[in-house]
């Protein structure tokens, strides 16, 4: 048979068609078979007791806060989240990890006019934590989307699996709410709770508004330990406890001029 360009192109075209159709069949068939072997496919839901909101928020009544309560809040939070105590156990204060911690008024509210500040505010320490901003700069900074704002309830969360430890989020956060694991956290945890994972060296961590407790229908640990000084609820629900309180009392937020719209309010 004499080979012509025409017959060569014919054969080449047919083979390409055959190979692609064949590989498509190989790829699609098992999927079709699997789809037809029963319409019950695994799916995901939430627990029925889970607490839901469209935007979780917190109101901190600074009039009820004192040093002991601050310590109690921090202990409650750090204990259930396996937060390492590098200050006490490893004696490495520069590697400190904190989710909620007390600070002075002038540091919590540096833009606030504080001349002739009431002595109560001047001398008490206020609890500060991640503000779960409506417009979180950390989320914009994260190159891997390891930190993200959950669409369903506005909580700013960390996906430790994806964190590469670049610390852009720490530079972006105007509240210093994030800590970096410069060293293995496990040796500095008094008792490792198996209800929450620890972190590994090289990831950033911060308060998660107790997302794992809300999913079980429990209030955040600090709110539970606060004896009524911390109030938690849905900021988008006019009937919620936080909204009622904000309606009655004047409350301020940290660094409002930055446009981050924090979800944590302070009654002063």
């Amino acid at each position: 048979m004499e080979n012509s360009r025409r017959s060569f192109l014919k054969i080449a075209g047919l083979s390409v068609l055959g190979v692609s159709a064949g590989s498509m069949l190989i790829g699609v068939t098992p999927r079709l078979l699997r789809a037809s072997d029963g319409d019950a496919q695994p799916k995901f839901t939430s627990r029925p007791e889970a607490m839901t909101a469209t935007r979780w928020g917190m109101v901190i009544d600074t009039r009820k806060i004192d040093h002991d309560l601050n310590m109690k809040l921090q202990e409650a939070c750090h204990e259930i989240h396996n937060v390492p105590d590098h200050v006490g156990i490893s004696n490495a204060p520069r590697h400190e990890i904190k989710w909620i911690w007390p600070t002075e008024f002038k540091h919590a509210f540096p833009n606030q006019e504080a001349q002739f500040l009431s002595s109560r505010l001047e001398h008490t320490e206020l609890p500060v934590l991640c503000n779960h901003c409506e417009n979180p700069p950390c989320v914009q900074a994260c190159p891997t989307k390891a930190t993200f704002k959950r669409d369903s309830d506005g909580i700013v969360l960390m996906d430790f699996h994806r964190c590469i430890g670049c610390r852009f989020c720490m530079a972006a956060c105007p509240y210093g709410a994030r800590s970096f694991n410069f060293r293995d956290p496990r040796p500095a945890i008094k008792t490792i709770r198996d209800t929450f994972p620890t972190r590994s060296k090289g990831v950033v961590e911060k308060c998660n508004f107790c997302a794992e407790r809300l999913a079980q229908g429990k209030l955040p640990a600090c709110v539970e330990a606060s004896e009524g000084a911390l109030i938690f609820g849905d900021l988008n629900d006019p009937g919620s406890d936080v909204r009622k309180l904000l309606d009655e009392q004047f409350a301020i937020r940290r660094k409002p001029n930055l446009g981050t719209f924090p979800s944590v309010f302070y009654i002063v």
Partner: protein, 128 residues
């Protein structure tokens, strides 16, 4: 081709050295280990899906669990039979398979995979 003999001899030696690991270890390959079930796992009889599926796909299942729990906040897994499980490695998987050394590590070591789950997630032996 004056050095025919030398070249062929050299090639034979070269291929012997190249294939040394194969014939030296012939027949000595250790058999694939069987994961050991705890009493609780034996009593339950089935995992969240059938054994064959779990054996080949557990890593994909865990990957989907982790993304759905962390990113979507949906923490309950409903399997094809409609049974509900809390999607948690430490709380659900390790509840039945509480013998990490015999159940997880044996095969992982054999297959030379080192999942880094345990850098953060706890397993029962660790409890103090």
């Amino acid at each position: 081709m004056q050095d025919k003999g030398k070249i062929i001899a050299g090639l034979i030696i070269f291929f012997m050295i190249l294939t040394f690991p194969f014939w030296y270890n012939r027949g000595a390959a250790s058999p694939a280990p069987e994961p050991e079930l705890t009493q609780k796992a034996k009593e339950a009889k089935v995992c969240i899906a059938d054994t064959e599926y779990m054996r080949t796909e557990h890593m994909q299942v865990l990957d989907v669990w982790r993304d759905t729990v962390v990113r979507d906040g949906k923490r309950v897994y409903v399997n094809a039979e409609g049974k509900e499980y809390v999607a948690s490695l430490s709380d659900t998987c390790m509840d039945c398979h509480s013998n990490k050394a015999e159940f997880c590590d044996r095969c992982h070591n054999y297959a030379s995979v080192t999942p880094y789950c345990w850098e953060c997630h706890t397993y029962p032996e660790e409890k103090k």
